[in-house]
């Protein structure tokens, strides 16, 4: 019998090999639209869902990828700034980078980095239940998102520069700094409307213990506590 129920892209763990959502009929959004749990929504509705999930789930984390982390061309600094503004509005958020895609063996430090070969390790270790991918090249984002859906209960949000991602729970396509700022605004709106964030009494960006150690190492290195940026 043909299963006519639409496939829903929901937090896992879904098992070892979840299907690619595209093969289950989930289609990518057009400009001005977004995807939520596999169905098309307006951009604004998508932003509000993302905002709510980020404010209410455990250990929100932003995973910036190479396209945001490395100022390799004009416009990156602006987008990077918009990501930091977003982080500032999410109490208790962490930023754990994916600086490139090379494998990291024999062991990664899951507080310092997320790697597309084993993203589940970072998510499990930090008990992350909602995350944002931004600036990760699509082919690596796709495989990473499927692995996360396979083995974790993390709600995945993608702010994609290109066509969006069927394999994340909420996805916005064609995201420049304007769209990132629109998400920040949606978060502010929900707070104004009375939503009390899960980590309401926690400052915006939390460094992981590893990041704190690195930071003190750098401060020592530069003598004055300043960062070489």
């Amino acid at each position: 019998m043909i299963n006519s129920k639409p496939y829903r892209v929901v937090p896992g763990p879904e098992g070892l090999l979840p299907p690619a959502a595209a093969t289950c009929g989930v289609v990518l959004p057009e400009k001005g639209e977004g995807l939520v749990l596999g169905s098309l929504q307006s951009e604004q509705d998508t932003l509000l869902v993302m905002a709510r999930e980020l404010l209410t789930r455990k250990n929100p984390t932003i995973f910036p990828g190479p396209l945001v982390l490395w100022a390799w061309k004009e416009g990156v600094a602006e987008k990077a700034a918009s990501v930091l503004e977003l982080a500032d509005e999410i109490p208790g958020v962490r930023i754990i980078p994916m600086p490139d895609y090379r494998p990291i063996y024999p062991k990664i430090d899951p507080e310092a980095v997320i790697n597309p070969c084993h993203p589940n390790l970072t998510i499990w270790h930090n008990k992350i239940e909602v995350c944002v991918f931004v600036g990760v090249h699509c082919h690596f984002a796709n495989i990473t998102l499927k692995m996360i859906r396979a083995g974790t209960n993390c709600y995945t949000i993608t702010l994609c520069h290109e066509a969006g991602h069927e394999d994340s729970m909420a996805s916005l396509p064609f995201c420049g700094s304007d769209q990132v700022r629109a998400l920040t605004e949606a978060i502010r709106q929900l707070k104004r409307e009375g939503l009390r964030p899960r980590y309401a009494d926690t400052p915006g960006i939390q460094l992981t213990p590893t990041q704190q150690t690195v930071l003190s190492g750098l401060a020592w290195q530069h003598g004055d506590g300043a960062l070489a940026e």
Partner: protein, 285 residues
Amino acid sequence: MALRTLNVAPGFMRFMPKEYQDLVEKGPFGRQIKVTDLGTFKEVLEEHPMCEGCAMAFFIRLSLAALPNPEHTVMVGTAGCGRLAISQAAIPFVYGNYCDTNGVATGLKRGLQIRFPDQHKDVVVMAGDGGLSDIGFSQVMHSWFRKEKFTTIMLDNEVYGNTGGQESGMTRKGEVVKMAPLGKQFEKIDMLGLAQTSGVAYIARLTPTNPSRVFSTIRKAVLIAREVGPTYVQAYTSCNIEYSIAPEKVLDDARQVEKERYGFVEIMSDEAKAYLERIDAESKA
């Protein structure tokens, strides 16, 4: 890669793992590294999952540190032990199928030449003896016949290490390895001779016993490939697992093999010699 891609976006340095901060601040990019600098800068390869004491891992580490312009280099490799480390280095890495490294490198090099006409982009194939002398053999030969301008480095451990010890064309005659119980029936392939016949501009055979020599060999091979033609380096990089060499004896074994049969061989075309002299004179001017 290019040097300008090595800037962390404003505000993000403090979130970067230590390794990346070190690569940006103390890496080898954009400057000339000497062998005596080892230990004073952040190398492109440090951690890797290869076996304890593996001579191949040591040779790879030295070779990557010796690259004249790591920021303008792309490595090409394939299945085999070496790629476990090479793919983890802070240098772009292309994984060719097990047979087509030199075809992939050809397309890559030609494409890079068109895309960056004013910047040398070095392409370096680094793969095992099985990858280059058996399954990828025809592509290696044809890249040499066509005089493709990139470097091929064979990690010659004289066995298929990664798959548990089958004999390769580079295993020595009579050698019994774990999954070749009858012993090798024919001679080790003369890749140096084949390279010469094919007109390879620079050919070298060495062991990792002398880091300065590894540095100068790799550097010459990469520089000559920029302007003159294909270059080939064959390095004895013993497999301590398949040949049952204790990790602490790996360099003793390399010294012995170097003395008894591998030696240090360097064959250069006149054009390659003249080119090296020219760039040497230019750098001193």
